[in-house]
Symmetry: C2
């Protein structure tokens, strides 16, 4: 599995996206992340493992706690890949512009 596979499939789960949205507000421990969800602690621990494996979050050790936060380079690879699509889409858009411009000229 490439990093891109891991990153996109990590983001495909709404619970994991919610965890990331929470972490966007700042660091949180596992129990703090469990609290807002109707899921057990092991379930959240697993989601965190997936997010960590995808390089989307990092963890510190602080006594018995393991505070999580967003990984600094979290979405860089994703952004790079999406840039390819964006470019293609804007190229298509430009072609549409050309067509419209041509129609205008003919008129």
């Amino acid at each position: 599995m490439t990093n891109l596979d891991a990153a996109f499939s990590a983001l495909a789960d709404p619970t994991r996206r919610a965890i990331l949205a929470r972490l966007a507000l700042g660091e949180a421990t596992v129990m703090e992340l469990v609290e807002p969800f109707e899921l057990t602690q092991p379930a959240i621990s697993r989601h965190l493992k997936v997010l960590e494996g995808a390089g989307l979050i990092v963890r510190r050790v602080e006594g018995a706690k393991r505070p999580c936060r967003l990984a600094p380079s979290a979405i860089s690879e994703i952004d790079q890949w999406l840039a390819m699509l964006r470019k293609a889409l804007s190229a298509n858009y430009d072609r549409l512009d050309d067509v419209l411009a041509a129609m205008k000229t003919e008129k």
Copy 2:
């Protein structure tokens, strides 16, 4: 399943990303998309269905052929969501800048 779930999980598969990369070069029929892969036609048809369901591609009817291309608004929702993460990450980066600036001042 939200659109975001569908979009991210569609992108999580390397075959589907390759299909999108191919479509970034321009429209292609199902058989044209089957050709470069070591997969059967039904397998590709399914991937196309997933991509269509996620709003990432659209299809025309042209006789017996169904040419596919990238959907114009393909990644807009994804981009919107990622913008949230990007913002949080750059905010963290700014905080780091503050710390570094403070250290510099003290020195």
